[in-house]
Each structure stands twice: as C-alpha cells, then as structure tokens.
C-alpha cells in the first residue's frame, strides 16, 4: 500500500515521518510532496492508496487536490490534516467523502488511528470489489449457461 503525505511545510512532514509507528501500519511506500503540483506528479507515476493532505498551501490548496483525486482516482482514501477548524473545510471534507479531518498539531495516535481506518476501508473496498467482480463473473457465467436452453420468460 502506498501513502502520500502532502504539506507545504517540510518540517511538518519530517515530524510525521519521525513519529508515526510505521511498523504498525502496512504501508509499503511512503511518498511526500510539498505542493499541489508535486502531488499530482506523484499520482501520475504511482498508485496512491491513502492521501494525507494539508489544506492551506500556496499554488493550489488541499481541497482542490482532493477534488482532482476524486475525479481521477476515486478509490484513494483521503484524510485532511489542517490547522483550521473551519466549518467550510469540514463540509467540503464530508462532500469529498474523506474519512478524516484532523486538526494540527495532532496526537500521533490520532493520525495513526485514521491511517489504520483508511487501510481497513481500503481492505473492505478491495474485498467488496473482489466480491463484486466474482459476482459479475458468476452472473456472466450463469447467463452464458442459460442461453442455449432457457427461454426469455425464464429470464424475467
């Protein structure tokens, strides 16, 4: 699993990197970006599963970034990490189906908790997609099996 941390403040990213007990989490790759542009570039070159994103950034803020991600990578789990306890941002976060809205400075456990939650979501998602795929497969197969013998009425 891949995690992308986006924050314009390098020291903030450094703090997270140094403090989060990564061994407890199953991230294979941890990417960092300091701006919208860098983040978008990383999305293009990697499959990002979880996005931990600061809102206030120059040259394109976190909300815009997540909007873009929702458009292009709907399966990515997004968590906002911000200094601003603003209702406008919180509402946007809900609309963008983010799983977390964390206020900085945040306890390590809180961040870790949300990251775990993101992993679980992702796992559920993968499972349901697997199930979904399996179901599709199964139905497809059924359809194919019923074609030669079944009448139209039976399908109805």
């Amino acid at each position: 699993m891949t995690l992308l941390i986006v924050d314009d403040e390098i020291l903030a990213i450094q703090g997270l990197m140094d403090d989060i007990p990564w061994t407890m989490l199953d991230f294979d790759v941890i990417l960092t970006a300091n701006s919208y542009a860098q983040a978008v570039n990383l999305f293009m070159s990697h499959t990002v599963d979880v996005l931990l994103c600061d809102i206030e950034m120059p040259f394109g803020n976190g909300i815009t970034l997540v909007k873009w991600v929702r458009e292009h990578y709907p399966q990515t789990q997004c968590i906002f990490l911000t200094c601003h306890d603003s209702f406008r941002y919180a509402k946007e976060a809900v609309n963008l189906q983010c799983i977390g809205y964390i206020l900085k400075p945040a306890e390590t456990q809180e961040v870790t908790g949300y990251l775990k939650k993101a992993q679980e979501r992702l796992a559920e998602h993968n499972e349901s997609r697997k199930n979904h795929d399996y179901r599709q497969q199964y139905l497809k197969q059924l359809k194919e099996n019923m074609k030669p013998s079944g009448s139209k009425d039976a399908v109805r």
Partner: protein
Amino acid sequence: MKNILRYFYNFSVTVQVILLLTLLILPMNIILILFTAQVRDAYVKQSRSSVEHTASLYITELDKSIQTTESFLFKEVGENLYVSRLINHIPGDYYVVAANLYWQQLNERTKWYDEADGYFFYLESEEHLDLALSSSYSTRKSLREYIRTLDLREVKGSWIILENSGEKWLVSVYSTRGFYYGALINLNKFENQIAAGLFIEDASVILTDTVEEPQGNAEEIVLINAAGADVSARISFNRNELLRQIPLLQQIGPMLGLVYFTCIPILILIIKRILIGPLKRLNMAMGELEAGNPDYRISARGENREAQELTFKFNSMADHLKDLKIKVYEKELERMDIEATNLRLQVNPHFILNCLNIIFSLARSGNLDNIKSFTKYLADYLRFSLWNTSGTVRLEQELGCVENYLTIQKIRFPGQFSYVSNFDPEVMTVLIPPFLILNFVENCTKYAILPDRSIEILVIARREENELVLSICDTGNGMDEKTRNTLERGEILEDEEGKHIGVWNCLRRLKMIYGERVYFRITSETGNGTQIFMKIPLESEADDLIDC
C-alpha cells in the same frame, strides 16, 4: 473697596443695574428737590419783604394822614371861630349859620388837603350832624345815617374802623362839651393803593384792627401796624399762586426730579429688555450646551444689532461645535477601528497555529535545538506585535521584528526566499507606526513566492532631506494592474479568498497620522515582482505623533 467690588460682582445684572441707577439718580433727585425747595423759600421770603416794604410805605403815608388830621382837628378846636361858637352853643340859640359855615370850611379842606377824606361834627344839644366828604350824595347820606346810629360817647378818643355799605373808613371821634367832631379816612382807597403797589396780583389787602389767624398753610400773611392808630395792613397771598409766577424752568424742577424718579423703573425695564434679556438668553443657551444639549439654538431674533449678532454667532458656534464633536467622534471611532484592525492583523491566528504545529513537528523529530531557536524567534515576534497596537516604534524595533519574522518563515519554507536589507544608520531611531514594514514583508512571503524558484526580498530605509524613504521590493509573483490600482488607492481588495485589509489599513493609518504628507506608490507587473515605495515626514519626536 476690593471687597465691596467683589461683593458687587456676585450680584445678577438686574440687581447691579438697579443699584447703579438708584445710586446715580437718587442723590441727584434729592439734591434737586432740596435745591428747588430752597429756591422757593427764598422766593417767598423775598416776596414777603418786598410786600412789607411796599405796605409800610403806604402805612407811613396813612400815619402821616392820621397825624396831620389829628393836629388839624386839635388846632380847629382851639382856633376856629365856628367851632368855638358851636362848642359854646347854648340850646335854643341860633347856631345853623355857624354850623353851615363850618361845614363849608371843612368841605373846602377836604378838597384841597391830603389828610382826612372827610370830616364831621355833631352838636349833641341840637342833634345836628354834618358830614363834609367829597363823595356821592348817597354815600354821604348813608354814612351820615350810620354815624347817627353810633354811640359817639363810647367810640370817642380813638381811631376806629367803620364799615358802611361796602366802604371802610377809619374814623376818629373827639368831643368837647357836647360837641363831637372827627375825621374819616377812606381805607378802601389805601387798600387799593397798597394793592396796586404790590407786584403780586392776587394778594388781598385788608386794613383792619383785628388779628386773624391765617387760613390754610398756603396762606402767607404780612402785617404792618400803623403807628398812629390801632390799624394794621393785613396783606395775604397764596404761596402757591405766588410760586406760579416763578420762571417756568424753576417750577418744573421738582417735577423733573419726580419724573426722573419714576424713570428708574422704566429705565430698568428698558435695560432689562434690550441688554439683560439677550444676556440671560445667551447664558441659558450656554447652560443648555454645557448640559449636553448640542441641538439647542437661540430662536429669538434679538432686540438690537449686538443681540442679533450674538444670536447669530452663538448659533453658528453651536453648529460648528456640533460638527466638530461629530468629527472628533468619527476620528475617535476610526482610531479605535484602526486599533482593532491592527490587533486583528498582528495576531494572525493562522500564523501562530502553523508555528505551534512546526514546534510540535520539531518535537516529534526530537530536534531540540531547532525547537529552542524557533520558539525564541516566535516569542520575540509575538512580543513585538502583541504589545504595539498603537503609538509608534523605533525603526530598529520594527526591523528587528521583520528579521524575526523572516527567520521563522525561512525555517518553515527553506529555499523560498532570500532577504536583503539596506538601512541608513541615522534613521534607525526614527519613530514610525508599527507594522509599517512588517505588513508588506508578510505580503511578500504570502503572495510573492514562486513554486519553482527562490525570490529575493529587499528592504531599504534611508533619509531624504526631511523625509523617511521606505522601500520593500521583491522579485516574486507581482500583481495585475487592477489589483495594483486598488491597493495604491488605499481600497480594500476582495477576491475569492476574502477581504485583504493589510495595505488598506496601513495607508489609512499613515493618512491619519501624516495627512497629505504621505507619498505611497506601488509598481508591479504580473510575474515581475512588486516594489512598494513610501515617503513619510521624518519625526523623531514621539510627542508630535497622534496615538495610532
């Protein structure tokens, strides 16, 4: 004297005017009245002596007549043949011729001599009465009859006054052995002469032998006694009538005094109306203003030009005062608003929260040295910006804060900008409004930074004659023409991120402190950096600046 004056000053104008008028007019009035009374007395006295003089002249004449008449009568008794015949008459004798001749003689006497007006004789034994008098027959007849009724024995020996049918006579009767003889002096004649001799027209002149009390106070009486007889001239005249003859001016003197006296209240009323009225009105209006009624105006037009001017001036002054008050209030409100805005701008919560997050992050990394230095910079920055919401700061203080701020930003965003400053050492102690430079430097780090390269921030402070020249330049993002115009005009810039009030507030403060002496320019172009350039009057004395 001073005490009296101080006491006097405590009175109201009305009382002062009444006191002054009374003090001025009352003594004059009293003097005038006394003077007039004296003049009147003197006039009356003079009149009396003049009357006495005139009357005594005539009385002397009367005396002379009496004297001559008496000596004549005595002489006749001794020398006249007819008289001796009549005296020696024996009843039954023929006497008529002698009486007749004597009567003729007496008649002649009355015609040619000035003594008595008439003579008479009475022969008791024959009851013969003859009266020699140059007058009308009827007068003679009634007088003769009147004398007959008299008891001659009783009245003989002295002069008596007889009154008969309106004529008044001074009569003397003598007798020698049954022969009565006497003389008559017409007192009316004397009375008329005296009256004609007096200058007083209405005086009554009476020759009398009785003394009468004067009737009424206004009656003036002059009594002149004759020496030869019990008769006196009694001249009475009315004092008021006499005074009426005094020249007009002297007569209206006391009246004038009275008029003046009654003038006091009228004068007071007039002064009260034209002088005290406006004064009181003004006083009351001032009181209203003082009591906090700024809309009070005098509505009366005023009783004279000064009062009208006073009304006009008071009203315009009150208008002016009101305007001024409103202006002061407005200025005060603006000042308070600026202060509040300053506070809001200085205590940028985002910045503080972000800094706290950095400290938190540094702690996460266990970077203790960085925590120490960062916390110190932040503390210095906050100390400056939280405590200087008003007043002025030294340029060096401001620049210290700028450097603190930029150091913090450099730690947060390494490689985003570099900072260069150029300060003239002589302006370092100049006083400026706080955040004048910091405000623009913050804007550089917020809006000028570029994503792809580092920018340069240049702060210059120098002296140019009597002005402080400040310049904050960057090589960053720049701004479009519309934004530049809005900011340079000192208007609030508004975009999708909200209102940007930093530059607007800064210019507002400068305008409030220095008025039109402020020069402010922004030059900028999109992508080509921004140059802020301002000139403010150089004032190193803190007292010259308004708190702002």
